[in-house]
Symmetry: C2
Subunit: 430 residues, 2 copies
């Protein structure tokens, strides 16, 4: 029962991801046709540099006029793999206006202004799918949106940036410092020449916004996500983590508050116990841990980036969107009915590991403990180490609101006996 | 834009899983309605014992006449959580004939006769969803059927039975023997009074048949799955595994042959390296490893059974099927277009760990090595241990077809100097 008119697909962008999408569409055309129920045809490819050699792509499909391509009107599905906010946003909304459905890998745009895209899709009765935008090849958006649609998700916590995981894993394994590990990641192609988006947590924050929105059926924007990069994690932090039976990961954490009335989303480095499944995620792999009321604790693991893994996710979406076109149906759209407020970082409740440089004299511990107590932060363990008049105090707290911890640290800095706050790290996953 | 007429759902079975489905449908009715776009109403519950107290379920919904319930004609979705082949099969096909879509958790029926169900669904333009049939709460069927629909899956390898994983984990951790660990599992409620279906691998084999069918787009029946239970795994096997840096798991393995022209599906205990992600799956958790051409290596992890996790999967399906009803559409049906043959176990290629009890005299190793060579099975490592005229030989092979290994073992048994074959175990995941 195969339809004969092929579905027309236009690619916007033909770089790392787009070229792999085009390649697989060609080499696996028969499988795709069988799974969709109709052949798919690559109808146009928009790029910036028309003269670049693009293996396997007929020259007549190449155009630099992406706008004309999305306005052609005969395109069934647009695959947007340009990246960035503009012109991607305008191209996508224009595509909807001209009757196409859209598959995108664009986390930056979705985190910044997903609502505009969802609304345009809804208004024109078309699909917007974006499995590839979070955690590359790992099926995550679909499980959250569909498999867990009958459940209540309370927490999503994951390693969603491969570059930073590679760097932290290298630091953990070799004892290297941050810049040495970054150099290694750059040399091996795991980090870009300008690694800011990765190491400062911008990339992970975009993914956290997308995940929180889907998990909690509410709108979460990039600005709602607390973000701390991992450039200040030191070899000493790893040594402290080891002493606690932990390692350090850059985590994206989306949580429903205990009272269920608000949510939070944040990205920062954190200590997690070695026994936690996320602790053993090595190299550039990604993994996302999901806690749901009925399902319990789930984990999804796999390659978070790379041309071919990301293309796998794009093509899975392409099959679904094409099937929907044939059925004249659409998949699930935006689900934001809960309209839960996003609380600021100060309201996040977690544990902390704080290293202080203090004067090596009697009474310091008592002073420090008093400051914690005054701010309502309860201490779990303290370790003192001293030599030559210099000493360090390592304090691990019980669960406390982030605002209380910040207040504590501010007050600690004012103590004469505290020479410096060497590091503050959250402790998660216990 | 909420429809006012509720969608009517009938439950067939209200045991461990069914009672949780009913509970969540009641407690989370508003969320389900928002996500579906229409309220869902529990319209009838078929059970065997009508007089049993069933908390939260109005008595007038209870019936012992499941057939009449599926024939009522006003039911939108039937949730089948009775289990077993009959009457479940007839009830499901009758439900399709009367216009209902079906959500089922019934691995036994799907593995035995999935084709009949798919055909009935297709003929009547209705949905058949069964996420809960494999690995309980873990989203797996949907990722395989949909997220990876644009990729080529080459292998699915997983721990899909929680009872046996609990027993093997206990043996590994405590050094206990099989029956001691089974007793512990029974006492803790992880094993049923009659554990045959679990420990002999029947449950895992049903899941392997379902996974292989979906992964390879071909029909794989229960009879096509090679099956070996784990009742003969000993503490000595675990000791050998440890010496190799391995542990032992009961694995379901579905593979595409190297030439791509056939597939295999099998269930048996196997050694896997401690570094493999499946090695650290503890207690009754399940996890499934998927290797796809473009996506690479993915893993899905979570609770494989239990009333509430399984209900989570059922309800995710219920939301999807209800949405499809509202859209007058259907989700993906059976995909068996590749029609690949299922090869017998003899054609599976893997590695082996063989322990032999041999006479402690010169020349034995040479004799044994000759037998391996004659059968074309290449040896990787040999370890000899001897005392008091008794000796043991542990041979680890390179990859070889299962038939060649069987021939080798048969010939070894005929050697005068071989007193017995203490154990043969496959080595996977390298
Ligand atoms: N790479 C990954 O591993 C990965 C993983 C997950 C998600 N993603 C997402 O996938 C998207 C694409 O990433 P990528 O790595 O493939 O990027 P890329 O290699 O930089 O490719 C971008 C493509 O877009 C084209 N392009 C740029 N501006 C354009 C314009 N104004 N009009 C038409 N075409 C234009 C470029 O043309 P030229 O070829 O002529 O330069 C290039 O083909 C991004 O949203 C990214 O976040 C990537
Ligand atoms: N339990 C799990 O963790 C789990 C996990 C994954 C999948 N599953 C699958 O889910 C299904 C249900 O499992 P379960 O553990 O919930 O089983 P269960 O506790 O034994 O419940 C079976 C239910 O079916 C009812 N029933 C039996 N025969 C019937 C008949 N002829 N007509 C009407 N009702 C009938 C029983 O009625 P009474 O209540 O009157 O006895 C009972 O309510 C099975 O296919 C199983 O393989 C279970």
């Amino acid at each position: 029962m195969m339809r004969t008119r092929p579905l027309k697909v236009a690619l916007l962008g033909c770089g790392v991801v787009g070229s792999e999408v085009a390649r697989i569409m060609t080499t696996h055309a028969d499988d795709l046709a069988a799974r969709i129920g109709a052949p798919v045809e690559l109808a146009g490819v928009a790029v910036r540099r028309p003269d670049k050699v693009r293996e396997g792509i007929p020259g007549e499909l190449i155009t630099t006029d992406a706008t004309a391509l999305v306005k052609r009107g005969d395109i069934d599905v647009i695959v947007e793999v340009i990246g960035g906010v503009e012109p991607a946003r305008t191209l996508i909304t224009t595509a909807f206006e001209h009757g196409a459905s859209v598959v995108s890998a664009n986390k930056a745009l979705l985190a910044q202004d997903g609502a505009t895209l969802y609304e345009a899709a809804d208004q024109h009765g078309r699909d917007l799918y974006f499995e590839a935008a979070v955690a590359g090849a790992i099926p995550l958006i679909r499980p959250l949106r569909e498999s867990l649609a009958g459940d209540k998700i309370n927490r999503v916590m994951g390693i969603v940036n491969g570059t930073t995981n590679f760097i932290l894993d290298a630091m953990d394994t070799s004892g290297a410092g941050y810049s040495e590990a970054l150099d290694e990641a750059t040399a091996l192609g795991y980090a870009e020449a300008d690694p800011t988006a990765d190491v400062e947590g911008f990339d992970a924050a975009a993914k956290a916004a997308i995940l929180a929105g889907i998990a909690f059926h509410t709108r979460v924007r990039l600005d709602d996500v607390y973000r701390e990069g991992m450039t200040e994690v030191t070899a000493a932090d790893f040594a402290s983590a080891k002493r606690m039976g932990c390692t350090i990961k850059l985590l994206a954490i989306c949580e429903r508050a205990a009272d269920g009335e608000s949510v939070t989303a944040r990205v920062h480095p954190a200590m997690i116990p070695l026994s936690h499944p996320l602790a053993s995620v090595r190299e550039a792999y990604n993994a996302v841990f999901v806690e749901a009321e009925a399902a319990g604790r789930l984990m999804f693991y796999g390659p978070g980036a790379g041309g071919s893994p990301t293309a796998s996710a794009v093509l899975g979406d392409l099959v679904a969107v094409c099937r929907n076109r044939l059925n004249e149906a659409t998949g699930p759209g935006e689900s934001a009915y809960t309209q839960l407020p996003v609380s600021p970082m100060g309201e996040v409740v977690t544990r902390y590991h704080i290293s202080l440089d203090v004067a090596d004299k009697p009474g310091v511990l008592a002073q420090v403990a008093t400051v914690f107590a005054e701010h309502g932060v309860s201490i779990d363990t303290v370790r003192q180490q001293g030599k030559d008049g210099e000493a360090s105090l390592v304090v691990v707290t019980h669960r406390a609101p982030d605002a209380a911890l910040s207040g504590t640290v501010e007050a600690l800095r004012k103590l004469d006996t505290v020479r410096g706050v060497a590091s503050i790290m959250r402790v998660e996953g216990e």
